[in-house]
């Protein structure tokens, strides 16, 4: 069977019966000129073409099996759900991005505020004070009583026998992640800060430290260190003596 040389067939004589049958069986509704010519020349060929066309119509009806009514809706619904999922994934990614940005920002702030980047007590104490710069002033009228102070000192198994000066503030704070007591006294020219910090290994003990503005000292006790930080007008020797004379540890 050959469809390509239809024009050759046309130019020769009418195609033979077998060739016609093969062609018309393959495509009953063909409008090829040579097939039409053959049909016009031979009524039985035309008859065969008509019969096969009718048969095709029957086949077509048989092939048209019923389509489930809900298929169209299912397809549309499924697509809608699929793109909704996609959207949700997208917004989840956005949320995750926002969250990770927030966490990163938080970590950075935390790193600057409370990080272990300060490897010794003195550095950390100075950093802490500079971070809180402006929070306390020598002119604050707040006073904390000895009783209130000693109540807070119980966490450290210690107490002060006598007042060591005008106490502006006594609050727990985080000293490089450790719960510490942060005392602010009225000083000669500026506030004097005293930290009571549990002994931990990750901060190296530095007995004396200073920068161009502040000076500080650390005193090691059995379970805690006490640090004093003040400006350079203050006598840390006096503070050391006062603290040593006043502090008592219950264990």
């Amino acid at each position: 069977m050959n469809d390509n040389n239809t024009s050759n067939d046309m130019n020769n004589n009418i195609m033979d019966d077998l060739q016609y049958r093969r062609r018309i069986y393959a495509e009953p509704s063909s409008q090829d000129k040579d097939l039409i010519a053959a049909q016009n020349a031979d009524p039985t060929k035309k008859q065969l073409a008509q019969t096969l066309c009718q048969f095709d119509e029957k086949l077509k009806q048989a092939m048209k099996i019923p389509v489930p009514d809900d298929l169209c809706h299912k397809l549309l619904l499924r697509q809608t759900l699929a793109s909704h999922q996609q959207e949700k994934r997208k917004s989840r990614i956005h949320l995750a991005l926002a969250a990770s940005v927030a966490i990163t920002a938080g970590l950075i702030v935390h790193y600057f505020q409370f990080s272990n980047s300060h490897t010794n007590l003195g550095d950390y104490a100075l950093a802490h004070i500079y971070y809180e710069q402006g929070t306390f002033s020598n002119d604050d009228n707040n006073r904390v009583s000895l009783t209130a102070l000693n109540k807070k000192m119980t966490s450290f198994n210690g107490s002060f026998n006598d007042s060591m000066g005008e106490l502006i503030s006594a609050d727990y704070c985080r000293f490089d992640g450790m719960k510490s007591l942060h005392l602010v006294f009225k000083g000669l020219t500026d506030t004097v800060t005293v930290f009571i910090v549990p002994k931990k290994e990750h901060l190296a003990f530095t007995d004396k430290f200073n920068d161009n503005k502040l000076q500080g000292r650390s005193f090691a006790f059995k379970e805690n260190n006490i640090l004093v930080v003040a400006d350079k007008n203050e006598s840390l020797d006096n503070w050391q003596r006062t603290i040593n004379n006043n502090i008592s540890w219950s264990i």
Partner: protein, 171 residues
């Protein structure tokens, strides 16, 4: 986004029936055909931007469906059930007589070897020319025409073996 949605809905509405029937004749199983159509349209949605010519949409979808079916066949080579008469569905809304005819014809179409039934379905149901079918099935046109000839010839042979059905072709 909205235009993509509109295009997709138009495609689904216009072509899901043809696709389903095509899938059915490939698989002889209406559930599998439905799954194939779902899979096909899902892939079509993802690839919709690559469809440039809406006139080519149907053959594009048929190509996707055939590929999906081939994948299914790879996955479930041993699950493939032979054609069973019970899988052939009934139609509503046709006269009892025509229904019997349809049923008989479906039976015979389903018994054709796939290489014969597939071009026949594309031609009769899909309205594709020999050339189109050759392109879609990746065959040369002469092969397609031979298969179409044999497909009809086998159906007609089957008719001749059951003379009471002859009016189907000669009425």
């Amino acid at each position: 986004m909205a235009t993509k949605q509109v295009r997709y809905e138009a495609l689904v509405k216009a072509l899901h029936g043809d696709l389903y029937r095509y899938g059915y004749w490939l698989t002889h199983d209406k559930q599998v055909a439905e799954d194939l159509v779902q899979e096909t349209f899902l892939r079509a949605w993802r690839a919709l931007d690559s469809l440039k010519d809406e006139k080519a949409a149907k053959s594009w979808l048929i190509t996707i469906l055939r590929r999906e079916n081939a994948r299914r066949f790879e996955r479930k080579r041993f699950d493939m059930s032979e054609y069973e008469e019970a899988n052939i569905m009934d139609t509503q809304a046709t006269s009892a007589e025509q229904e019997i005819e349809n049923h008989w014809l479906r039976d015979k179409i389903a018994q054709l070897a796939p290489e014969y039934s597939e071009p026949l379905i594309l031609q009769v149901l899909g309205g594709y020319s020999g050339e189109d079918i050759a392109n879609m099935l990746n065959l040369n046109k002469n092969t397609v025409m031979t298969r179409l000839f044999r497909a009809r010839h086998q159906l007609k042979d089957a008719l001749e073996k059951e003379p009471e059905k002859m009016r189907l072709i000669h009425e």
